[in-house]
Symmetry: C3
Subunit: 265 residues, 3 copies
């Protein structure tokens, strides 16, 4: 296995640190993302305006940027936050939601990608399109399989000098050299809005406390997959699944992560 | 019956199409509206800024506009989105939340209404006030009965050349000529915030796949009413009702809609 | 006891009035705060833009301001709303979320505090820092115990000529002369995002219908504490707790408040 820190140890470390995570995320995701972080053991803070985002990114443990419900003032706040995080040596995570949805959005994504995110988390359609490929999706829901985006993800990770995580039914994480797949979760997960956005924030929580962004990403994705496994039994549909999922993040003990379906790729 | 497409067939058609719905809605509603659409079988996308709203409205199946938490930049984005939708021949749905709450808001509502929405969805107080009548409400919660707004709704539908839906304990839908009432749901529904806003987005999902906006509106309202019926049994209060309601949208089969309480008006 | 209106009577009065509460709150809190108010018996309205906030604050029963996800345009809307509320003789409640998180935010907090809020509701870290003290927190989660902030709260209440509520495991409310402590709730409450923000809105609902802001604050906090007590038994984690909590707000009868743990301080 290519990990130096197992998902179980990563969870213990994250909970022990209760990292303050600066989340700039979209309006749809804010509430559920904050609840995901609190349940898992981190401390989320949502603020975005350019007047304070650099100052706050410097004192938080990590910065996460998701541009779902974008507007120009928020873009300024994102760049200022990256300035603050990078000056303070803090990792930042990028989630380019539906970056192909409009020419304007595509340009913003290119500019943010040029700021060298520590970790990129996206669905298969978003990764394919970042690599210049065709995607079956026009909006935020993925229209492609993760496996179709693996080669693009490897190339992108090398270009960025960072970690790329493609999430879906089976997740793929690579830093260009190492690569793993993580299975688990539930088919109900894509029917709950902002689960991917929440996962991006959780990746930030792990990146705040672990030195290796690859291990951090795998740790966060393993926790999400296992909590999804735990939640699906009692769920009668997407809403009761969401409740059970957040409860599972809270109740999940590190030892449970020893059975997560993790394999080298 | 005045419908050419039954609610059961409408639901099948909507799910088969998984329509991409461009929702410009308020901050309170965004998360629950997205979850309602995903559970019902559609694909929601929330974005609003004038830099991209016209481009995206042109590629989505329908546009929905709700102006709950309004600000000037969003108004620009709404008008640009309508430009994009109309140029591409896509339907758009208008939800004028508490348009009487301030003189500024009333003016914005008039301007948007002048853009000829395909469908107007509102509560009784909002419809009465649009017709120049008195309303018992000052905020977003309805203070009037649907029946009191039926005549205004008929007149408004004729003026607009569109469909008007007045929702409440018994809904009323008219295109100025045809009219139906739909009963069902639960008294807990008005105690869950943004249910009406979410319904507006769902009307957009149906309008994206059905040619007749009247049938589309009735289909969406019938699904909402029946899911409300299904959810009320196990609910201990508004929050458990909301969970059960979203689960019901996911589990509801078209045949269940054959018993919805639908009558010509 | 220092109260002239008991929490039981206060709840009856609030429900009888169904007060319209103008809530300017952050993006994370909007949905859950609206649901808390609806379940408890009030009528929330979320709008913020300077073009209408003064007009609406004048017709609502009370105004609440929480500046979690702040930006300059919202600050203008907050000040205009205070203008409207004060001109109409309506109470306003201030919730200075993580005001120490950046120098810019601290300045905004000072300006808003200078507008003489009727009631200030905050966690212990926020109150300590407002009094010029040190706090263990950098973000929105409290890092200090309520008891450590009681003396600061008393001094602040005298300075403001208003009520100060410090909420936590045991709440403390003072108007500079009178003071009470309220115990109850659940350790899961700080793991649900925006519970404090929602409480701020609920304080506004009580302040809209009761003449004495001290009684209003104690009434709202007593309802929150008792609903937390009721919700914790069936909860499997923070998400099922939140569902049970909102249901409890809806089901709770005034007589249940006679056993709330309230004591003079």
């Amino acid at each position: 296995m290519t990990l130096s820190t197992s998902p179980a140890t990563a969870l213990q470390t994250m909970r022990a640190g209760t990292p303050l995570v600066h989340c700039i995320t979209n309006y749809v995701a804010m509430n559920i993302a904050a609840n995901v972080l609190l349940a898992a053991g981190a401390s989320p803070a949502m603020l975005h305006t350019p007047e304070e985002s650099a100052d706050f990114a410097a004192i938080a443990g990590a910065l996460t940027i998701n541009f779902g419900t974008l507007s120009p003032n928020w873009v300024d706040g994102m760049h200022k936050a990256i300035d603050g995080a990078q000056a303070a040596g803090k990792p930042w995570v990028f989630d380019p939601v539906a970056h192909y949805a409009s020419p304007w959005r595509s340009g913003i994504a290119r500019d943010l990608l040029a700021r060298n995110p520590t970790i990129l988390r996206a669905n298969a359609s978003e990764v394919l399109a970042l690599g210049g490929g065709e995607t079956a999706s026009k909006g935020p829901d993925a229209g492609d399989e993760v496996v179709a985006a693996e080669a693009t993800a490897r190339a992108l990770a090398k270009d960025l000098g960072g970690v790329v995580a493609v999430t879906g039914a089976v997740d793929f994480v690579t830093d260009g050299t190492r690569a793993v797949r993580i299975a688990g979760g539930s088919p109900l997960m894509p029917l709950v809005t902002a689960m991917g956005c929440s996962l991006t924030c959780l990746v930030g929580a792990y990146a705040a406390v672990l030195d290796d962004p690859f291990d951090a990403t795998v740790g966060a994705l393993a926790l999400f997959a296992k909590a999804g496994d735990m939640a699906k039994d009692g769920a009668a549909g997407p809403a009761s699944f969401q409740v059970a999922f957040v409860d599972a993040l809270y109740n999940l003990q590190p030892a449970a992560l020893e059975t997560v379906a993790l394999s080298d790729a």
